[in-house]
């Protein structure tokens, strides 16, 4: 059934309206509608674009903020880790220091207590025993002073004073310095100094301390009857090597990684502060070089110092 009822204007159905417009050629209305529709679509697209841009901005902003927070957290964790490592090193140093100082203090206390005990006895004071006690107190005070002096040297951060150093001459001087003690211990010192060794730019007093410490270490490792061989040679690139080999007791594989730790010592109580090698390590690092050790129990140890010919001071 067809709808024959005529539609009044404003009452047309949509298909009817299109038909009416097409039929009656109301092109202006079509144009207006198209413009309105176009504007509506443009507005909609603009809104969508603005929304998308806003969202993108927010996302990028949030990502940047998250990255900044993550960076800050990482920095904090790094700082905490560094702090923990510092505290661990400090704890280790303090434990070593407490042990090294408390032992001589314990003996000083004993000697004083014993002298007091002797003085309170009714019989006359045994002067020989009293003098022995007082001498022991002085000895233990000196031992404590040596520890604190070494510790101060270890902690001091003086900048190296760079000058031309004739290493062969410096090594010869240090060997002569310990000659009396090596003779007493029946230790032969062999020097193998490269004649073509170039002079290096370094700090002579600091290097003297290193060579002396290494020679003392070698003598203590041998104790009596043995050989220390000290050699110098140029090496690549632009560096020189100093090697000190001893035929001493050697160091076990387990202890070798700890040999440069402050207060680490394999020597009997009172015979070493455990600071000599850690001082050497600190100085050589400051002079831009490296110090390594190879050792075998019962056969001896070789300390190898590598130094640059031209010093680039390193702040440590």
């Amino acid at each position: 059934m067809t709808d024959s009822t005529p539609h009044l204007p404003g009452q047309e159905s949509w298909p009817g309206l299109w038909h009416h417009l097409a039929v009656y050629g109301s092109s202006w209305l079509v144009a207006m509608l198209a413009i309105i529709l176009g504007m509506f679509v443009s507005l909609l697209l603009g809104l969508v674009a603005a929304l998308a841009a806003g969202l993108s901005f927010l996302t990028i902003h949030r990502l940047l903020r998250q990255k900044a927070v993550a960076d800050q957290e990482k920095h904090l964790v790094d700082e905490q880790l560094l702090q923990s490592q510092k505290l661990a090193a400090l704890g280790k140093l303090s434990a070593g220091l407490a042990h090294e100082i408390n032992n001589p203090l314990a003996i000083i206390r004993q000697e004083a207590e014993w002298l007091l005990f002797l003085c309170r006895q009714s019989e006359p004071l045994d002067m020989t025993e009293a003098i022995s006690g007082l001498r022991q107190i002085l000895k233990q005070v000196d031992r404590s002073r040596e520890i604190t002096t070494n510790l101060l040297n270890f902690a001091r951060r003086q900048q190296p004073i760079v000058q031309a150093v004739n290493l062969n001459r410096l090594v010869g001087d240090m060997v002569r310095l310990v000659a009396k003690e090596t003779e007493q211990r029946r230790i032969t010192v062999v020097t193998q100094l490269a004649p073509d060794l170039p002079s290096i730019n370094s700090d002579a007093p600091l290097l003297r301390q290193v060579i002396l410490n290494l020679l003392n270490n070698a003598m203590q490792a041998i104790d009596q009857d043995g050989t220390i061989t000290i050699s110098t040679q140029p090496t690549e690139p632009e560096a020189i090597l100093i090697q000190i080999h001893d035929t001493g007791c050697g160091i076990s594989k387990e202890l070798l990684p700890r040999i440069f730790d402050p207060f680490f010592t394999t020597k009997p109580q009172g015979k070493g502060t455990g600071l000599g090698l850690s001082i050497c390590h600190g100085i050589i690092e400051r002079l831009g070089g490296t110090i390594t050790v190879a050792s075998e129990v019962g056969k001896g140890s070789t300390f190898t110092v590598k130094l640059p010919i031209t010093l680039t001071p390193k702040e440590i």
Partner: protein
């Protein structure tokens, strides 16, 4: 105490060992002194001791290693650890391994004697009430 405790003193610092032995002997105590953990275990294999004064940091067997072996093989000996560097961790480890007490060097002789007496009393009490 009917008779004094037998004491085994273990310390690698010779002068400290000699002095402490001399001072404890002067106070009427019986002391044997050795310089290492290995020597201490060898001494314990020969005869029992009531109280051991044990240094913590020694070459060879450390104080803690000696204490661990001693508490397994000779649990009846009470151990007082002498140390130059006490820490909470070390103290906890000493007690965990069965040590009676620890003393920080330098400490007064009276304190050492008082700890020896306490340790000996605990040993006697444990003998009277086994388990």
């Amino acid at each position: 105490m009917p008779t004094g405790p037998s004491i085994l003193l273990v310390d690698d610092e010779e002068r400290f060992r000699q002095n402490l032995k001399k001072m404890l002997t002067a106070h009427g105590l019986t002391v044997t002194a050795v310089g290492s953990g290995d020597q201490a275990l060898a001494e314990l294999a020969k005869q029992p001791y009531d109280v051991m004064l044990l240094d913590m940091r020694m070459p060879g067997l450390s104080g803690l290693e000696t204490l661990a072996i001693l508490k397994k093989d000779y649990p009846e000996t009470e151990v007082i650890v002498l140390t130059g560097h006490a820490s909470v961790d070390a103290a906890a480890e000493i007690i965990r391994l069965g040590g009676f007490e620890f003393l920080l060097k330098p400490c007064p002789l009276e304190e050492i004697i008082a700890k020896i007496e306490s340790a000996y009393e605990r040993k006697l009490a444990r003998q009277e009430r086994p388990g």
